[in-house]
Amino acid sequence: MNAGLYVHVPFCRHRCHFCAFMITTHRDFLADWERAVIAELLLRGSAFPETFDTIYFGGGTPSLAPPDSIGRIIDAARKHLTVSPDIEITLEANPGDLTARDLGELHELGVNRLSLGLQSTNDDDLSFLTRHHSAKEGRDAFLAARAAGFANITIDLIYGLPHRNREEWRDRLGAALELEPDHVSAYQLTYEPGTPMRRFRDKGDFTSLTIEEEGERFALTRRWLAEAGYAPYEISNFALEPRFESRHNWKYWEGAPYLGLGPAAHSFRDGRRWWNHGAVRNYVRAVDPKKGEESLTEAQIRLEMMFLGLRTVRGIRIENLPEGLLDRPRTQSYLDQGLAEMVEGRFRLTSRGLAVADGIAADLGGATTP
């Protein structure tokens, strides 16, 4: 299996109220960060004999890193890893960060997939989400990226905001699709512990959607996107054509090896997973940035493949299902109720089943060992 390279860029202009990522607003660490990432690449690269066919700059806000910094990291990867000629290189960008020149430069460097943090096409939504760009700036950024030659652009959207009805969401989604993105990641708003958004909700500043409404939005979103030609292939991911599916993200869901560089990044290879210090300060100072690791047992690997598989259209190959699972009355009832289906030797969840994938995973996972 080919491997993927993830590079975490932990810098943001400010912290959005809903965000629980490891980020910092102190950009004075940029130079240290680049040096440390390249050092880590040298340190770990030799442990990965596989060919790398993806690089993913995620964040944080990778568009805050100067393009030449991105370029040096890509160069280092090319030099120290075995890299496929047909590599997918994704970079996440926030509207307003990148000039036409930056975009051109990145494209030159080999970045061939741009992930644009649009989040919404409505200014009220954007201000509720404490994003610092307008709907218009989002649209402009998209068009600029196209103009710079990006033929594979994905947009992030957030739905399920409080006090917004489903028609409002449909309009916003519609406006986003008018841009003709190649791929859409549509995330339902979640209230992560520790975030201001969570605090405001718990305090009663607003009322979040009920579970029933969330379920409805989830189903509608899948339907509307499918009707517009975007095939759902994971809980929150939709592609206009199979070739626009995120090759990199598939690695996470299919248990392929990946090397994660940067603060808080996770790596996985051969049943072993390790992760880095989350705080940028600690990451850049550490001789070895690894903070923790785990060796997965057979059963743990199976459990991971199970719940990850359940999130995707590919489901789980029947022979990889834990023994006896299919014969359980519970499993059978999922099939009978139309929550799951068997397709081409795979057990996978239907749209309705996907909405409750966590519960089904907990149930099937609970049954994996007696």
Binding site: T190, I211, I235, W253, H266, A361, G365
Partner: protein, 601 residues
């Protein structure tokens, strides 16, 4: 040790008035334990006692005290529990003593257990030394307590000693008072052996360790002893006294408190309250023992996971070794499988047993709603007692039903009179007496159905009186009751372990509460789960848990996988604490929550 230098006494009091802390100070002052081993409430050795900060079992320790008269005395101290459930422990301890220290918290004054425990001591004609404790606290009202000692307890306030068990102030004076006021044991060493078993404990290596008080004669290592209760004989392997651990001694003679190890295999064979004598030259009569502890509350214990049944059996057996008051027998339930019907001294006892089984034997268990023992007279005239709602017969065959009552004595500051009376009435109480102890404090007497005080009377009493009311109770005769059996159905299936008997007027309210509680504790399923309470076929309350419509997390990338797996692993462990009823998972807490339904909200 010369007999006239021995003093046997217990410390008794209302809960939390400082008995164990006073014992600490006495241990410290007499140097019975090396300094480095000192810790708070040293005699509370069980984990659960230490965690909850209460005494559950009585504990004995011998102290050598050099008094002001220059003589060294052996003081056998027994620390007792204050909680009303464990009154039985107090009476056992008292049977081994000539005197008691009656502690009164100077900030609280006389409380219900102060009075009830005093009566236990007076019944046994023991010398009572009143001790006013916690005088270091700013809220201490020593004068008031002196008044109460005279007017409420009928004791001589001039005997009262003031102390702080915390700082040690006044503790020497208590030790002197013990020497001066508590009589030494009577000199009866020339008579045939009679020793009262007041406790017994199981030691994995030595078998049963009998805790006894020798009243007459003496017992030596190597003697053959005989127990009156079983008529069985055993060879004494070891005798001795209690320090912080056991100290072997060749002889234990009249007046002394100590232990005997005689190769006895089960605690059942050395019943508490039994009398020990010598096989050759036996005494003719046993000592007046005491009644067996009476179970007043019944509940069933089931393993959450059926594979733990064997372990549960073993665990209960072992607990029983040290807790003679725990009763149990096998039973089975359609919803819960195999388990045990158990009898307890009260709800705290139930909780303690439940916690010990879970903790010491590592088993997750479900405890069903507690109930009392009802007496049912059939139309045929036959009378049966039932202690399990499942045994309740078809109403058509019942002539009448009776339930146990208790007489509660409640002591409270006058300003809480209104809400406390309301609480008693709400619980079907009948007022018998009310009297002012002093201008500010009232003593109330109510007769109440035991079933009503089972659930949360005690907690509610504390909350309506902001912690100031205290209560003690004693059993009364049975009285007629208008009962119905309420079944709980989850997803249309009756969960027999949730069935309960209720006074007819209370059935709907309790049914509603339980349905609401279950709705809170049973998680959403992928289908709708109706919950109903029914009498016969008649639904009296219902709730519905709507189906889970969405639970999937939006994002799952490289950094999320490990966390998510751990969550699943945790949930899987959690499932071990779930009971499948049909296709519904009922968490252990759901069964517990039924136990703790508050009557108002």
């Amino acid at each position: 040790m010369r007999r006239d230098r021995i003093r046997n006494f217990s410390i008794i009091a209302h809960i939390d008035h400082g008995k164990s802390t006073l014992a600490d100070r006495m241990i410290e002052i007499t140097g019975a334990v090396p300094d480095r081993s000192l810790k708070d409430q040293l005699l509370d050795t069980m984990d659960i006692e230490r965690e909850r900060g209460i005494t559950i079992k009585s504990n004995a320790i011998a102290l050598d005290y050099e008094a002001e008269d220059g003589e060294t005395y052996c003081l056998n101290l027994i620390d007792t529990p204050g909680h009303v459930d464990f009154t039985y422990e107090v009476s056992r301890a008292l049977a081994a003593c000539e005197g008691v220290l009656l502690l009164i918290d100077a900030t609280q004054g006389v409380q219900a257990q102060t009075v009830s425990n005093l009566y236990l001591a007076l019944e046994q004609e023991l010398t009572v030394i009143p001790v006013i404790n916690k005088i270091d606290l700013p809220a201490a009202d020593v004068d008031r307590v002196h008044d109460q000692i005279e007017s409420e307890l009928g004791l001589d306030p001039f005997d009262a000693v003031e102390c702080s068990a915390k700082t040690g102030q006044g503790v020497e004076a208590i030790l002197e008072a013990i020497v001066a006021l508590i009589p030494p044991p009577a000199d009866k060493v020339d008579l045939p052996l009679r020793a009262l078993i007041f406790d017994s404990q199981y030691d994995e290596y030595r078998g049963v360790v009998i805790h006894c008080r020798v009243f007459e004669g003496e017992v030596n290592k190597g003697d053959m002893i005989k127990l009156f209760g079983t008529d069985r004989e055993y060879r004494v392997e070891e005798t001795g006294i209690f320090r912080i651990s056991r100290i072997a001694r060749k002889t234990l003679s009249a007046g002394e408190v100590g232990y005997v190890i005689a190769g006895i295999k089960t605690v059942g064979n050395a019943r508490v309250g039994d009398t020990m004598t010598l096989a050759e030259n036996p005494a003719t009569e046993p000592l007046a023992g005491y009644r067996d502890a009476q179970s007043v509350v019944f509940s069933s214990i089931y393993p959450v996971d059926a594979v733990d049944y064997e372990d549960l059996t073993l665990g209960l057996e072992k607990l029983k070794l040290n807790d003679a008051s725990l009763l149990y027998e096998k039973e089975s339930s359609a919803s819960l499988g195999f388990g045990f019907r158990c009898g307890f001294l009260g709800l705290l006892h139930l909780e303690v047993v439940q916690e010990r089984v879970e903790r010491e034997y590592g088993i997750s268990i479900i405890t069903t709603a507690p109930t009392v023992r009802y007496r049912i007279t059939h139309r045929t005239g036959a009378v049966v007692e039932i202690k399990n709602p499942l045994d309740y017969p078809d109403p058509s065959v019942i002539d009448f039903t009776e339930e146990p009552y208790i007489r509660a004595d409640i002591i409270l500051p006058e300003r809480y009179l209104g809400p406390v009376i309301a609480l008693c009435i709400q619980n079907r109480g009948m007022n018998q007496k009310m009297h002012y102890m002093d201008p500010r404090n009232v003593e109330l007497r109510y007769d109440l159905p035991l079933a009503e005080i089972l659930y949360e009377f005690y907690d509610r009493l504390k909350s309506v009186s902001q912690g100031y009311a205290s209560f003690a109770y004693e059993p009364l005769e049975y009285q007629k009751a208008d009962l119905v059996k309420v079944d709980i159905l989850v997803n249309k299936e009756r969960v027999d372990a949730l069935s309960f008997l209720s006074h007819r007027d209370r059935a709907v309210a309790r049914g509603r509460l339980i349905c609401a509680q279950l709705k809170k504790t049973i998680h959403r399923h992928l289908f709708k789960v109706p919950i109903q309470a029914a009498i016969g076929g008649n639904v009296i309350a219902r709730e519905t848990i709507s189906a889970m419509r969405k639970d999937v997390t939006a994002k799952c990338y490289g950094g999320d996988i490990s966390r998510k797996r751990k969550l699943l692993e945790k949930q899987k462990k959690g499932k071990k604490r779930m009971k499948m009823v049909g296709s519904v998972e009922i968490p252990q807490e759901a069964f517990l929550s039924v136990l703790k339904t508050s009557k108002e909200d």
